[in-house]
Amino acid sequence: VMAINDFESRIRGGHSFFQIRVSTRRIEAPHHELHLLVALDEKSIRIHQNRLHPRGRVLMGLEAMKEDKAFIPVLFTKLAEQAGGKIMANTVAAGACFSLIGAPFDFIENLLRDHFDVRNERLFKENLEAARLGFDTVLGKEFSFKLSWPKSYSPKGKLLDGAKGIALGALAADCRFAAFYPMSPATGIMGNLVSMADPFPVVVEQSEDELSAMNMIIGASFAGVRAMTATSGGGFCLMTEGLGLAAMTETPVVVVDGQRPGPSTGLPTRTGQGDLMFVLHASHDEFPRFVFAPSSPDEAYDLTVKAFDLADKYQVPAILLADQYLLDSIFTLEAPLSGPGRIQKYTIDDRDLIDPLSYRRFQVTESGVSPRAVPCAGKALVMISSDEHDEYGHISEEIENRTAQMNKRFIKLKNMSKEIRPPFAYHPGSDLLLVSWGSSRGAVSEAIEILRNQGIDAGYVHFTELWPFPKDAAADLIGQAKRFFMVEQNVTSQLGKLIRQETGLMPAGFILKYDGRPFYPSDILSTLHEKLR
């Protein structure tokens, strides 16, 4: 099961749709051809009709409509009002959909239970009623794509979206402080964290702006707890100065950039992959960082745990590059998530020091990582400056010291690189290779499956751990293919540039999409066919 949310940046009204794909195979991408379309207004039909399968059906909200081979009228709004409020029209629609595809009502009840806050029983009840009304209206209607539901209605895996995956990862990684300023599509991460925070020693603080959020987490991390923030590109802009502070003061932080199309405000509720180069180079001058772009909610969980660990281990910023599609789309989880069991302690205290009184926070070491004490935990004074500093943390303008500290920070890259997993590769030695990153993996892998079924020798290489760039693995894997095409949701093929910069390899072509919608396998295939013509 997977579902993507596609809504405009307004609260009510506007054209929104919620797309659900259900399959007994594992699926990971939205599909271009629609079997079932829910239309709250005529506009939806106009927009999506040409994607409707010949035997597909449309649940239609207009009063005047008559039922026919395609259309089934369901008075969403009216039924919603009956249940308690117009705003639940979506829930009525969901009920109707599941009814049509043959789901047992219990399944829906479970979904709603999951979705609504336990503290708001009334809201849950009303929505349940709304779903029921929709469900009943459609019950028994004909539909060619009915699914046979297993006796046990609950899906094999659990349902997880990227936002929840990251929030769970943060809790599992012992994140104790999260500061944020609301911004779509990142707010959901913080929403999940807030709603699950209760049993954990974690505080979530809404800040006055992103400058503050970023600096708050640096303060918290400095004082000894793991800390994170989440935002989107515009907010990330405001965090770049703080990112440099974290780097210069070697304070671990985890920052999520939930990409949405820009530039500027752009399309606030839609998806894109336009920020890769920006996050790689964000903040003035240079410093090592980690950049991960998870391709699914469970990987978002894993990489969040990893990001916290590595940020802490190397005392550097770690950036999670997510996007609206990943964060808001619900996927079934194949394997259960498991916690790390224990959290490695990377800080030291007086007991670890021969002479706490001469503690040097920025001691030059072979690995570049200096012993990190936290303030007011002992006699060791922790002294930090954003100015270039000597080993003690005092401002220093000396040439030798500058070079030594810069080298100390950069030498970390050596071990950091070893932490990076190579990109995922599937038939890399093919005639035709697709190269992609982040949330598009599902669409790419489906496209490749289709091509291979058509007898085309195709494969793909998909990147999720992007920096330090897995240069050798990339060169090796991509280098095997006859030619490769970049699949990215941006205009300039940012990963393509990075690959060329790091490996010298040059793509044969580009499959680029930047309309704010996620990739469909069909997008990839049709553009590819065009290019190959």
């Binding site: 402080f177 600096n215 303060g219 400095f222 004082a223 707890v225 916690g339 007011c376 002294m383 954003s386």
Partner: protein, 284 residues
């Protein structure tokens, strides 16, 4: 007994001879010694500027951070460890210019820190541009026609934001300043001490003598619990400049408002519970 000299360090100060910052540094050390807070028990967080360099020149834990951002850092540090005693050294540009938004919202949170705003009414480190508190009409190299904006009144604004400890000090009166700082540190919640400070290099108007002539301690009969009176008093400026505590009110401090922190051990000292993680991972 601690004395000021327990906070002395070798590191040479970067300030001009005669700078008001020396008085502030002396008062800080004196206040800490008087309160018997030892160097390793204090955390100083500062922004960027001449003022913000202060912690380099005394023995303490410090985080000399970014221009304008000391208060968010302090907020995060306080969440991580609400037992921390935090002093913020900040300049008038740092606190009311670049950091103005954080100033307002840290007060709204009632963050329990003591803010020493070294108010030399000019940008010192960047060599003499107008600051938010510069007098209207003051001429600088960048403002040759004189400053055009109304001068920012930190006392008024802090009062308007409901700050629970609002005071003004003078770097030239170390003893009184030390006592203000002590009161500020003892106050549970946001304590603002705006400190009038001569800058001998770039503020030729508001000199030590200029202040000396004008400064008047706030009268004993001033009712520090009366917000409206305090606001009226804050409007006084010119031939007479009131110095002392304008307003006091105790409301729960930031870390008392957060149920996860109040009456709990600091987050930094709590332990990780893998059981709870498993529970949540299995519960959805």
């Amino acid at each position: 007994m601690l004395t000021s000299s327990d906070f002395d360090v070798d590191y040479e100060t970067h300030w001009c001879p005669g700078c008001g910052n020396f008085g502030i540094l002396a008062a800080m050390k004196d206040a800490l010694a008087a309160l018997n807070i030892r160097p390793h028990e204090i955390l100083v967080i500062s922004g960027i500027g001449q003022a913000a360099k202060t912690p380099h020149f005394m023995k303490c834990n410090y985080f000399h951070s970014l221009h304008g951002r000391a208060l968010p850092l302090a907020t995060g540090a306080k969440v991580a460890n609400h037992d921390l005693k935090i002093i913020v050294n900040t300049g008038d540009g740092d606190c009311y210019g670049e950091g103005g938004n954080h100033f307002m919202h840290a007060i709204r949170r009632n963050l329990d820190v003591t803010v020493l705003a070294h108010n030399n009414r000019v940008y010192g480190l960047t060599k003499g541009q107008a600051s938010p508190t510069s007098d209207i009409g003051m001429k600088t190299k960048m403002q040759p026609q004189g400053v055009l904006s109304d001068s920012f009144n930190p006392i008024s604004v802090a009062l308007a934001l409901g700050c629970g400890f609002v005071a003004r000090g003078f770097s030239g009166d170390v003893a009184q300043l030390s006592s203000l700082i002590q009161s500020g540190i003892r106050h549970n919640g946001f304590a603002l001490i705006d400190i009038l400070q001569p800058c001998v290099s770039f503020n030729p108007v508001n000199t030590f003598q200029w202040y000396k002539k004008r400064i008047r301690p706030i009268q004993e009969d001033h009712d520090v619990s009366d917000l409206n009176r305090a606001f009226a008093l804050a409007q006084k400026w010119g031939d007479e400049i009131p110095v002392g505590i304008f307003y006091r009110k105790e409301t729960p401090a930031f870390s008392r408002r957060i149920s996860k922190l109040a009456d709990h051990r600091p987050l930094v000292s709590r332990s990780y519970d893998p059981e709870k993680v498993s529970t949540i991972l299995n519960s959805f």
